[in-house]
């Protein structure tokens, strides 16, 4: 379960204060796939980063009594001078997993071949994304964070990603943002709407989409 306790998050850009969350206290119920809806700039990505712990709230606390992933496909935590194997090993150690098992999985999944043994800085962005996705899939999380579904690789590889991910989803849930209502309907049964610093949770995703559409049409 992920719960917010008096969370406030603001940004100051060129002296203008922007409120992402205004004193939010709520719990996201466990065991549900939840979409986060909001117009561009409402702060969906910031909210994701808050949940991942990559950003801190100005006030309040976020409690995570579950293993939450970093945003899927994120490769910013990789050490550029370290090889693919070394980066995978670091994550495995951090999560107390068997390094060799994780490395074997990532090698097999990412199809990077001998590139696993060269420093990450020589990788293309596609190779990095494949490595990052592979590592996320090698570890059992309770929640996977997805900030916009980004396709990795060619059609065949995409299909493989979907297959592995859906097998993961038998034991795990997703928290995702997307601009595609199609993708949201496919993956989530519940939703949150983030609008002008307030967030509302709906058990039924259709209600969330409805409110989101309504907010969009009445946008100032």
């Amino acid at each position: 379960m992920i719960s917010f306790d008096g969370v406030r998050k603001t940004y100051r850009i060129d002296g203008v204060r922007k409120v992402v969350l205004e004193d939010l206290t709520m719990s996201l119920p466990a065991g549900r796939n939840i979409a986060i809806l909001g117009h561009n700039g409402a702060g969906k990505s910031t909210l994701m980063r808050l949940i991942a712990g990559a950003e801190l709230p100005d006030e309040g606390r976020i409690h995570r009594s579950a293993r939450v992933s970093w945003p899927l496909g994120f490769s910013g935590g990789f050490g550029g001078d370290m090889t693919g194997i070394e980066n995978a090993r670091f994550v495995a150690r951090m999560y107390g997993e068997d390094s060799e098992r994780i490395i074997a999985f990532v090698e097999e999944f990412s199809e990077l071949g001998p590139s696993m043994r060269v420093p990450i800085r020589t990788y293309s962005s596609g190779m990095k994304a494949r490595l990052a996705f592979g590592i996320s899939m090698a570890i059992d999380f309770d929640y996977y964070l997805i900030d916009e579904v980004t396709a990795v690789g060619d059609t065949r590889f995409k299909k493989k990603c979907e297959e592995v991910f859906s097998s993961k989803l038998k034991h795990a849930k997703v928290l995702m943002t997307s601009h595609s209502t199609g993708a949201i309907r496919k993956m989530c049964e519940s939703g949150c709407v983030l609008h002008q610093g307030k967030m509302r949770y709906f058990d039924d995703i259709e209600k969330a989409i409805e409110l989101h559409d309504d907010n969009q049409t009445h946008a100032p």
Partner: protein, 263 residues
């Protein structure tokens, strides 16, 4: 293997220890490079540097203020000083260097600080053991007279470096110019910390001014432990540890206070 249960069993402390362990190994790899020689070189480089400086100073100055070996006298000063300055400098950049790691939900700011601190402290402790071991093997120096006091001095200088380094990191986060200013401001430290003198060489009023410098106390404590008959008058162990406690309080307190600036 249901993941929920694992999370519950995993105590927070155990997770943090595991994350710090992973970070130390990662930091070792990033700092010293892939080659096995990397770590060896990291240890040998300051040893050669110190040996070279010691050689030069031994030629220039024949009579050390205490003992008979200038090499031993200088080594006790410079290794202690370098231990401190390495921590104070390296920890300053710790947040910048590890910003990407913050995206991992498990990594906390303090973890990256502790990991870097542990690696540097372990490296310098190894350097000290190798260097003095070498001096003893070459019969330039005897075994330390009071090993417990020497260890206390190493602990003090490590904690002092941690406090200074983390304070530097927080100040630099708020005010990036601090990096350059710090280099300029701390340059004289090498000359006023007792690396090549002992405070009793000076008249009381100068000694009083020098006695505010905590690094001087670290070096004096190290020497008081190493030499059998050295009983420094200026050394004030309670001042030193009081200073360290306050500095650590400021360092970790301000880190907590200004944490959101860096994330």
């Amino acid at each position: 293997m249901p993941p929920m249960d694992m999370t519950k069993q995993d105590s927070l402390l155990r997770t943090q220890i595991r994350v710090i362990g992973a970070l130390v190994l990662r930091e070792t790899r990033v700092t010293f490079g892939k080659a096995k020689m990397g770590y060896l070189w990291a240890i040998m480089e300051p040893i050669f540097g110190t040996a070279f400086l010691t050689l030069i100073f031994s030629i220039v100055t024949r009579h050390p203020p205490i003992g008979t070996s200038f090499t031993l006298f200088f080594a006790t000063g410079i290794l202690t000083f370098q231990f401190y300055s390495k921590l104070a400098d390296s920890l300053m950049a710790v947040f910048q260097a590890n910003r990407g790691l913050m995206a991992y939900p498990l990594v906390k700011e303090v973890d990256v600080v502790i990991a870097r601190f542990l690696l540097i402290a372990a490296t310098y402790t190894t350097i000290i053991i190798v260097f003095f071991g070498g001096l003893i093997a070459l019969q330039i120096a005897d075994y330390p007279a009071h090993l417990d006091t020497v260890l206390l001095a190493i602990l003090a200088v490590a904690l002092l470096g941690l406090g200074a380094g983390l304070t530097n990191a927080v100040v630099m986060m708020l005010w990036p110019t601090w990096k350059q200013l710090h280099t300029v401001l701390t340059r004289p430290l090498f000359f006023i910390s007792g690396v090549f003198f002992i405070p009793s060489n000076f008249p009381p009023d100068i000694r009083y001014i020098l006695s505010w410098n905590p690094i001087l106390h670290c070096i004096e404590l190290f020497r008081a432990g190493y030499y059998p008959m050295y009983n420094p008058q200026t050394l004030d162990v309670s001042y030193l540890f009081f200073y360290i406690a306050i500095l650590l309080l400021i360092a970790f307190g301000s880190e907590r206070l200004y944490r959101k600036h860096q994330k």
